[in-house]
């Protein structure tokens, strides 16, 4: 009987301990420290990137929290002000990244990741007399492309223009001006202009680029005020088909702007056009009234990752995202038409349709010169002023307006010139390769 009671007591004790353990929440579970990532991708692109992060988080000991917005600058400024920046920021502006690096808000990347600092996406930045790598391209896009409806004549194109892009409205117009300047004046002038060494008000090349753009847009007759207004308020993604409003935007060539035949747009617009077989792509040089010497020059853009905190998971994530394995996983995780372009020839490239293959060939093989998007090299204040100036010029493409705008932009340039001219800092100038 004594043994029975003892066993019962042990059983009761065990039950009690179990109950207490259950009540105290049991053992804590460690899901890994979070790494917060802020990036530019929303919609389907954001979904694809989130899928990659999910894939990369397996076995990493970290959880990745991603937020996508087109108002990256405003968001980051708010986060810095609150003292709570994300661990990793993915930005497309070298000018903005340089600003943060100079303000000591970025952490140098580890040497392994720094090997992925491809030119022209990661130009040399000298701080305190040392070459530093603060960012590397994750995915890239080729600009200087024209998309058109199959069968339409390229002799007198009717241009589709959509200037609205939420916080960054106006950039489709700056892309035009940059591309024309690159092909007319060449990479040397382009670099001088993008890096703040060219007087906006006195540059004949720049004035010519603006006026060429206006002439191209009016090549089939002066645009009506209504058409101008429609382009100003039209998103660069276009609008959804009214019969299928839930299907998402259909692109400017997909019927958003009836009557137009050609669109000057970067390679990412294939997200909309890849499933269609009636849209073709070709180099923009053929349309820009440029010099034959620069016909193989292309503008490029990129989404560059930078580390903003000392969270070791942040360095690790950027390393993983830029590794061969990471890029392959990204490519595999994305739907065919959302597969990104990567900067190196050895990286996986989308090949789901002829346009994607053609773009990948230009990007990694055939382009003689690749220049980083000029407005994205400029300091953010000047870039934003450029966006607004282009909107105004698009509305009123006359000489007095242009002179006024270029004068204002020159004032902005001179106001911010010298911001980083201490001997300890040398801002990037190698933006063409």
């Amino acid at each position: 009987m004594r043994g029975g009671a003892g066993r019962a007591a042990r059983l009761a004790l065990a039950a009690c301990l179990l109950a207490l353990a259950a009540l105290s929440g049991g053992c804590g579970s460690d899901r890994g420290s979070p790494v917060v990532v802020l990036g530019p991708w929303t919609g389907d692109e954001g979904k694809a990137f989130t899928a990659v992060l999910r894939e990369l988080s397996r076995g990493s000991g970290h959880t990745y929290v991603y937020q996508g917005t087109r108002s990256l600058r405003e968001t980051l400024v708010a986060q810095f002000a609150a003292g709570a920046p994300p661990d990793v920021a993915i930005l497309n502006s070298i000018g903005e990244l340089t600003e943060y690096a100079v303000q000591d808000k970025l952490r140098p990347l580890d040497p392994y990741t720094a090997e992925r600092a491809y030119s022209p996406w990661s130009p040399t930045l000298m701080l305190d007399g040392r070459r530093r790598t603060y960012w590397v391209p994750l995915k890239v896009d080729l600009k200087s492309l024209v998309w058109s409806r199959a069968g339409s004549s390229s002799a007198r194109p009717a241009w589709c223009v959509g200037m609205a892009a939420q916080a960054t409205s106006g950039w489709p117009g700056t892309d035009w001006v940059e591309d024309i300047l690159l092909h007319q004046a060449g990479p040397t002038t382009y670099v001088q202009w993008a890096t703040g060494q060219l007087n906006w008000a006195k540059s004949a090349e720049l004035k010519r680029a603006f006026t060429t753009w206006a002439k191209l847009l009016d090549a089939r007759g002066k645009r009506s005020p209504k058409a101008v207004e429609r382009s100003l308020t039209m998103s660069f993604w276009g609008t959804p088909d009214p019969e299928h409003p839930a299907a998402g935007p259909r692109g400017l060539l997909g019927g958003s702007l009836p009557g137009c035949t050609h669109e000057h747009q970067a390679s990412f617009v294939r997200y909309l056009y890849a499933p269609r077989d009636d849209i073709r792509v070709e180099p923009a040089a053929r349309f820009l009234h440029g010099s034959a010497a620069y016909k193989d020059a292309f503008e490029v853009s990129g989404d560059m990752a930078a580390v903003l905190t000392d969270n070791p998971g942040a360095q690790e994530l950027v390393q993983r995202l830029t590794s061969d394995e990471g890029r392959q996983k990204w490519s595999d995780a994305a739907q065919d038409h959302l597969r990104p372009f990567f900067p190196d020839e050895t990286d996986p490239q989308p090949d789901d349709n002829p346009a994607a293959q053609e773009i990948a060939t230009y990007l990694t093989k055939e382009a003689k010169t690749l220049c980083f998007d000029a407005s994205d090299v400029m300091p953010p204040v000047l870039r934003d002023a450029f966006y607004r100036a282009v909107l105004t010029y698009f509305r009123s493409p006359d000489a007095p307006t242009l002179d006024r705008l270029l004068g204002q932009l020159e004032t902005v340039r001179t106001q911010i010139a010298g911001t980083y001219t201490t001997s300890a800092v040398r801002t990037p100038t190698e933006i063409c390769r």
């Binding site: 009761a12 929290v65 917005t69 108002s71 405003e74 400024v77 509305r395």
Partner: protein
């Protein structure tokens, strides 16, 4: 088969004897030893389980009152404030160049300022985790960008196309379904702003609506008794019932067998049991109050509207409409606060420690009685 059945039953027989000793047939020292094991354990487990469940319910009330309700109010206010600001901007800019002199009006400034303050308060408020705070930063950035485009539209107020474009860019950051149609020609006075969900949710209102859904889900979870609380309540009810009955029977045992008329320490140890019904009633009241906050949350997320807020602004002295944000938020907070039964809630954190004290007193007392009994028995040359 019989021995097998006995073997199966055997672990439970002593356990049952511990929890419910047979009256009259047990030897004194065995009875005291069993009580010495069972009663402190029942006290410790019963009080701990009840204390945890009670503290959990009280913590839910505090969380709803101090975190969720203010956060829902701030989100609703930020959303409606920006829609009011958009209309103010549309109307002001549509009036033409007069705005260069008059500005966009005090209501535009007040409402954009209020939205910024709401978002800043939400970031500091503690209702959100890492991912949601990041989302709030994005919203804050979008609001900054929104105001920049409104400013640009104002700068270009003399050019209808640029003015309209600036308003359209601002509106596209505010709502996914922004039509670009100015307030002066639109049927509805305020932009509709039906929130998108999923990957298409990129605007201020989309993102605020997603945060509202998240808060609403958490409120529903908090206002429900989770399986952990239900299990703890059931466990504590069983343990405390057995403890009360066990103490009662032990009093009788001590009186009948050991001639102790009233054990003062055991009576003292039983006193905390008298407080427990109040704690249970307080917990039930708190839970009911939590459930009562759900309609207020629905009102804040679904019925709060710029029209109602504008009417409140226009006549601040009048009784606020039923869907006005600040009164609804205050009512939500008050409902949870009123769910407390006086100061009873303050004992929540002391229930489990009280259980340990009860266990120690019962255990110590019974141990002393048993030791005394064994000594007396040994002195008398044997025991019962």
């Amino acid at each position: 088969m019989r021995p097998h059945r006995t073997a199966l039953r055997s672990p439970w027989v002593p356990l049952r004897r511990l929890l419910w000793p047979p009256a009259g047939r047990t030897r004194n020292r065995t009875y005291l030893r069993d009580r010495l094991i069972a009663l402190p354990l029942l006290a410790a487990v019963g009080f701990a389980a009840l204390g945890w469940a009670y503290a959990d319910v009280r913590a839910d009330s505090a969380y709803i009152r101090t975190r969720l309700a203010p956060a829902l109010g701030d989100l609703a206010d930020a959303k409606t404030s920006l829609r009011i600001a958009q209309r103010e901007a549309e109307v002001g800019l549509d009036a033409g160049t007069a705005v260069e002199l008059s500005g966009l009006g005090p209501r535009y400034a007040a409402r954009t300022g209020a939205a910024a303050q709401d978002i800043a308060r939400l970031s500091r408020g503690g209702a959100f985790g890492e991912a949601q705070r990041q989302e709030l930063d994005v919203i804050s950035g979008l609001v900054d960008g929104y105001e920049e485009w409104i400013t640009w539209a104002r700068t270009n107020v003399g050019d209808p196309s640029l003015r309209k474009a600036g308003l359209a860019y601002a509106a596209s950051m505010l709502c996914s379904d922004a039509s670009g149609e100015p307030a002066t020609t639109r049927t509805a006075p305020y932009p509709a702003c039906r929130p998108e969900t999923g990957a298409d949710a990129t605007t201020v209102v989309d993102r605020i609506a997603a945060l509202e859904r998240d808060l609403h889900r958490r409120l529903t979870d908090r206002a429900a008794l989770g399986p952990g609380v239900l299990a703890a309540v059931a466990l504590s009810a069983g343990c405390l019932t057995l403890l009360a009955v066990g103490l009662w029977r032990t009093f009788f045992f001590l009186r009948r067998r050991m001639r102790i008329r009233a054990s003062v320490p055991l009576l003292a140890a039983a006193l905390p049991l008298l407080v427990l019904p109040w704690a249970v009633a307080d917990g039930a009241r708190a839970w009911t109050a939590q459930r009562d906050t759900l309609p207020y949350a629905d009102t804040l997320t679904d019925r709060a509207s710029p029209k109602v807020e504008a009417a409140t602004d226009a006549d601040p002295v009048a009784d606020p409409p039923p869907a006005a944000i600040h009164p609804v938020t205050a009512a939500m907070e008050r409902t949870v606060a009123d769910g407390a039964l006086g100061p009873v809630g303050t004992v929540a954190g002391w229930v489990a420690p009280a259980g340990l004290v009860v266990a120690a007193v019962v255990g110590g007392t019974l141990h002393a009685y048993r030791r005394e009994y064994l000594l007396v028995g040994r002195g008398a040359g044997g025991g019962a």
